[in-house]
Subunit: 358 residues, 4 copies
């Protein structure tokens, strides 16, 4: 039995770097030698909260049959190490990134190509045992997307979070010249801002409370960022949009304040996009939806086939998302990284990645 290093989730705040069995590619599967894997906000929720939202603890997952301990990590890139039977179109050694969603292929949504809405979907490193914080990870062949030669592993590990941002623009139907408001200044908000700029936004405005983050946002390319607790956001935005308000508001905080800020400042017939996963109930004023004749939508992941376009956006340099990587660590440092990001939020770090070869 071959073994490898892996960071496994055993319970809340119980993530262990351990020596575990190396995966073997079954029929339809591919094993990837992981190079880089990013830490996602979803990872942090599962790390810090009781009960966990994503990782199955008591009962095996209906699609995968897996439950904790689970190897975490779903934003990764690496090289193909092994190819299972029945897989066509791939070669050992090819540089690839991973679309982490697994699907049943049979339900109402899978039959419509809406695999990300599969009723028993599973995420690599979440409800599927194998994950990217390990020397090797195995996935289904449909999870694997080839990287162009010019794309780095660092970029490859950023495709997944960028796909989320691209999906926000797709669903929000952003058009070139649109004025976009993004509520929040965290990683998802920043990926979204960079994609909006690359898609020809007329202006992208953001809200953020931490002074350090406000400075970072400017360096990353935001048109203008506001601290909504220190200004009249509606007034500021109206002044910059001929008195009309932004065309699209993408809510990335999930907070009651952020949500209502967006509804309040949007122009009539504007588009509200719920990107941030709000964890509880919030008070809203639905008459505002009606009075403004608003369009709205919520986002879950991305169309799985968006990965191809996202890879192209990154590899051609249209979105320089690598600017968002503020620190690269070894696998052995992963618990410290989770502790820092989950409990010591000073806002200095944006996206942290684990480099498996450091």
């Amino acid at each position: 039995m071959k073994t490898m290093r892996a960071a496994r989730w055993h319970g809340t705040r119980d993530l262990r770097v351990e020596e575990v069995e190396t995966p073997v590619a079954a029929t339809g599967e591919i094993v990837i030698k992981v190079k880089r894997c990013g830490i996602c906000g979803t990872d942090l929720h599962d790390y810090a909260e009781v009960p966990t939202k994503s990782i199955p603890v008591d009962n095996p997952h209906p699609l995968t049959g897996h439950k904790a301990p689970i190897i975490m990590g779903h934003e990764f890139a690496g090289d193909i190490a092994e190819i299972g039977d029945g897989v066509e179109g791939f070669k050992i050694g090819e540089r690839v990134t991973v679309m982490p969603l697994h699907r049943c292929g049979k339900c109402y949504f899978c039959q419509r190509g809406l695999y990300h809405l599969c009723v028993i979907q599973a995420g690599t490193g979440l409800q599927w045992y194998w994950g990217g914080f390990a020397d090797y990870c195995k996935v289904k062949s449909y999870n694997v997307y080839k990287m162009p030669d010019t794309m780095t592993y660092e970029q490859g590990a950023l495709v997944e979070p960028t796909a989320l941002a691209m999906y926000a623009l797709d669903r929000g139907n952003m058009k070139p010249g649109d004025n976009v408001l993004i509520a929040g200044g965290g990683p998802t908000a920043c990926f979204t801002m960079m994609c909006a700029q690359a898609a020809g936004a007329g202006a992208v405005y953001m809200t953020e409370i931490q002074p350090g983050r406000l400075k970072m946002l400017k360096d990353l390319g935001v048109t203008e960022a506001f601290n909504p607790t220190e200004c009249n956001l509606d007034k500021e935005l109206k002044e910059r949009t001929d008195g009309v308000g932004p065309d699209i508001a993408i809510e990335c905080t999930g907070s009651e304040g952020g949500i209502n800020d967006c509804f309040h400042v949007l122009r009539k017939r504007g588009m509200y996009v719920q990107s941030g996963l709000s964890v509880g109930q919030v008070l809203v004023s639905p008459w505002e939806w009606a009075l403004k004749d608003l369009n709205m939508c919520g986002l879950w992941c991305y169309n799985t086939y968006d990965f191809e376009k996202t890879i192209k956006m990154i590899s051609t340099g249209k979105v320089a998302v690598e600017k968002l990587v503020t620190k690269v660590l070894t696998l052995e440092q992963i618990v410290d990284a989770f502790e820092l990001l989950a409990f010591n939020k000073d806002g200095k770090e944006m996206k942290m990645q684990i480099d498996m070869e450091l």
Copy 2:
């Protein structure tokens, strides 16, 4: 000075049938001899509530310069009695119905043909002094739509509320074969149900609490109606939709319960339509919007040019909205009618109309 009868709003619960000056058509205006005018839910809110939502009391309206007293009534049909200078395409005696919204014609929204979103819009019988509960009413020529010979005045006075319902389907992008849920069983909900059936809905389900109304809904053509307090609505709908849930939910109650019912039962990527004007704040769970990858929208009135299509739907018999008229009264009975509808809600009446010639 010629005079006429008119029901004027002087204040909350203070509607008076009075002898007032008859309107004269100024440039660009048309005077209509009113035949039928319906009582709308908005009328009842203005009648019953303090402060009034719609009618300007202290300051004249920025577009019209009008304030209370205001002649109420915005769902009406009649004959053209007088035509002002500069109006083309109309003749004295023509049978017409009225699209009640007035607009500035200059703002961001008017420049895009979105007249119903005009920033200083005014409604006939609300922020425009003249209204349909009178022998004569004057409006702008762009408010006037001709009725086919086969259309009755009763039908003509139903075009406006039907246009609201048509707009819900338009914005909700209802497709033939769709399973539609309508929350609520009041007049707007019923207009919407009838239009959805006419547009080829696969099934239209409704929710309603009053037993009498449940029976009425069946007679009006609903596929099935449920009392959500006496059944598991989600379970009932899933059973009727292959376990998936409705494609569209049109919320017509404006209540926290109705709103959350809709979000809860919709299928993933379903469409939520906020039709009912919710008057306060409600608790919702935005993670449901995200988890289900929902589409959503709020409704304000209708595209003003929808009137032509709505007239066609009614006059060709595709929607038999005249079934919704449960009582026709004289102008002298209008205060009793308002009192009944606003304060003695037994649910027996659906749409009441005033016949100016009774």
Copy 3:
């Protein structure tokens, strides 16, 4: 070896009713006892023309490996007779209809749920050996859709051509109240007209040259039908649409005349839908597309999952497509039927079906 009757295509104008081997359900397959099967225009093209467009003659089809002789027939309904391994959710004896397209499941389009655009797709009874003009037919389990109890086999065999018509409205984005022009008066045009009426069209106009057909169209529910060789079509339609022209034109003839009629009469920003398969090159004026700022689309089959909605439209009586069946024959009469429809086009027959139990 069990045998059964089947009508097999051996070559142009060489269709033979023969005793052939009965199919056996392999893994993932279902065998259906056929009850009713309709004759489609595509069948007639393959029957009458040299070379055949659809049926592979020299080389086996890349997806199925099949080539002539092929059992024809792809519009059929029947009972499940046998279920292969790995198939879930079906029972012997269930009444079903068939969505005839087979797909690779792997290509760019299949990955997006656009199975009808699969690059190596195969049609039952065309590029897949087994077809509906036989006592038994086997297909993939994903081809099989259950029929409600209230649906007859006659209706079940009409789901496929009705799905084509529904797809025209879906792609043409028909809205309730729209004025629709359908060029042509053949079966596809009639299915489309009936669906447009069921979807709340304001009016559906058709063109047809044969006097007998013009009469039939009226009985089937068209608003008005015109012989374009005997009237000024543009003038007639403008008179009926306030001088504007139809909102949508669905071209079902595939002829140069029909195509240009549609482009010529459409209103600006109207929608052109190419439904008829035009077999050659035609002269058009693309400046008309530009000058009118037109929307246009071509149609290939239907979204495979449209079948569920189409079944609902027929089974609830929203579209009474069974009115289009003008003759029901035995399998032994099939060659006569093909000869009549392909070479003796008097226009008296609309849709002919073979009843396997007559």
Copy 4:
């Protein structure tokens, strides 16, 4: 009577720089001191062809009452020199650009905000007497859009052709990451390419025959340009799009070859956009539209309110359309410029502008 210089069209190949009466702002009008005005392909058609397509010769235009001689020029920017009665929101001296379309404001299309489809529309410098090749030009106040301080007159005179390009992307529903083919390498094609890149296209491919132009396209930012007479365009594009073909093809030549190239190489369900005004009839194969399930549209001008977004795209540097200006001339040189562009097409010039102050 004050006079000014103006280049007036008197007939085919008869453009004269003359001293004519200076315009005076009537009610609702604004007079602009012209600084820069570009030469458009439409100008060249009117200059070179018999009969003229745009300029009314025999009968006065139904909206404006104007006919030849007409002052040409509809791509211009300048300063406000005079403001008529009833005009609000403008000041003398403000730097502005012009949206050249005049409208009736009453027809079916104007009522829907589709002013560019007005049934009796008129273009400044075409069917409206006053044009941009003059010291002063008067237009309606709704034609005037303010320029940001950072925008040059050179850029301001490029807003109109850029708006055309933006409209192609809007109607073609281009999404970030899309592979775009543009048929043709002339000015409109180049504006469109630059906008597509700014909107985040995955790649923009162009076709062009002249070797000099091919080199220019590369400098302007095309991903790759092909000479379709010297390569297998379909093969080249399939190789660059994983064997699928481009997502969108924007046809800017109006030629039979260009049109069929686009239909031939597009992927299934791709989008065809007819931007070039094809002047005659062309042979096409509508079965290709059907077989590929294509979306298609034709373009006429632009939504008039697109100007605001286009101004923002240019002024923020998202599209550096000023690169397309290859020569700036004096008004006295205009006839030579027209002769060169219309009859000596060596392809060396892209966009030529007249500077009124040189």
